[in-house]
Symmetry: C2
Subunit: 308 residues, 2 copies
Amino acid sequence: MEGVSGGLLAHEVSSAGGLGLIAGSYGDYEWLAHEWANAAGERVGIGFISWALSRQPATLRRALDELDPVAVMLSFGDPAPFAGAVLSSGAILMIQVQTIADTQRALDVGADVIVAQGTEAGGHGTTNRATMPLIPAIVDLVAERNKNTPVVASGGIADGRGIAAALALGADGVLMGTRFWATAEALVPAQGWSAMLAATGEETVRTHVEDFARGRDWPHQYTSRVLRNRFVDHWQDASFDASADLQILRHDYEKALVNHDYDVVPISSSQSAGLIRRVEPAADLVTTVISEAEATLTRLYRGVCSER
Amino acid sequence: MEGVSGGLLAHEVSSAGGLGLIAGSYGDYEWLAHEWANAAGERVGIGFISWALSRQPATLRRALDELDPVAVMLSFGDPAPFAGAVLSSGAILMIQVQTIADTQRALDVGADVIVAQGTEAGGHGTTNRATMPLIPAIVDLVAERNKNTPVVASGGIADGRGIAAALALGADGVLMGTRFWATAEALVPAQGWSAMLAATGEETVRTHVEDFARGRDWPHQYTSRVLRNRFVDHWQDASFDASADLQILRHDYEKALVNHDYDVVPISSSQSAGLIRRVEPAADLVTTVISEAEATLTRLYRGVCSER
């Protein structure tokens, strides 16, 4: 949600009963502080990319000292260098994981919340595990370690049915990214919304292309799930052995960024894209999906269980 | 479940309240008729691989005429050449799909049941969609076409939590394969069970290797999800340009098949492998997972909904 989840979106999510996270991403403190002001004192959190934060450690210190977030989520890489500072600040330490080893490490450093992300998630992640089998495996692992750490499910969830399903798998909550991309408060140009609403969810692919294009040297295991477009299809299997190719790639990408040209700029998207049918206010969305989840669970209880 | 789901397993599943399917697979009628006898008159179905059945069309005719299955499931390829015969026999026509286009086609040919399979499923399937976002998309598609066709969720489901989650996503039921691999009645040698029970679910990969090894010319979009082993890791990225390589591959595989050597023979497995902790009788398993699902839905209803 880099550049997309700012203070206003986080404010709206928290005010409706969720927990809004501002995308601290790669650790640009100026952007973060600007967006923090837009949250207008609402209780919101901040998400950071751990491997990138290790190059901008001052950002975390300043965020904890000056902004005082209610929660900090660390994703993608070793959380150990940052966990102590988050915990001693009093913020809730959320750690996003993709594997069993990630989860062991997160529990070892004292995570207050585990966010378990399946491969169908939008944006950065890994290919190995899908949400449906991942969540119960992580829930069981937490239990085996005699922890009560809540597990939050992430990846492929865009409505109340997905929330109800995640709870059934043993999760204590969900993290939704892509669905909030298509909200009124997301920092997204209208052309981006159109592309998202038109997608069925089959058009996504995990790729390194955008990271090459913008020179973000992500660890190789992390790809970004995006909607396929002309640019991604063209470059997806390129080896970039020739530096001339890389120059063309970057030039095209930078030009397209300015023009909001989504035939070139990849849109981060979960496989849940097809479940998103309109752009709506984020607070309404929070209320709607919670109601849907409750209605789903009530219907199932009455239909499946109480007849016996 | 080729060679694994025989008549006894199907019998036990159906007798416990499920619907057992015998793996008709590539259309070997002799094997099928032998296993049919083991089902001892229980109401069971048969699953076929559509692209393979088109090379053995007599198998379907004989199965419908001589065995009279309660249901026929068609997977992987165009069901159109077979749908009419199944429907006019009175058997329930189940069609397994991986995409929206597959689902449109299945509805067009009159499917009685849609089985929607996510990429985390064991054995053959595709890479594009995971179960969590796929099921609601398929459920919505069926509704948009004003159909009441039941949707069955497949892929990554191995316990009652998964069943409850699938129902929450809008499915009317589930299809479980891998979990029944580890049942007493599955046609699996003990060495195979040991490998499955030891796996966490992170060790699976989608691959063409076994199909190359046994000369099954699957359409390219279908890979098989298996537990990684020495053989798969060695050959996974091979191009097989050199026919000498292919000879070695096939020789090693055939030798290992005889010896039940699971360092070489790949075990088809869902990403749910880590949720499987013991081999048990299939009928007990059916009863257990249904109870688990009911308990899960009851707990969620009471905890999430009724407190409001």
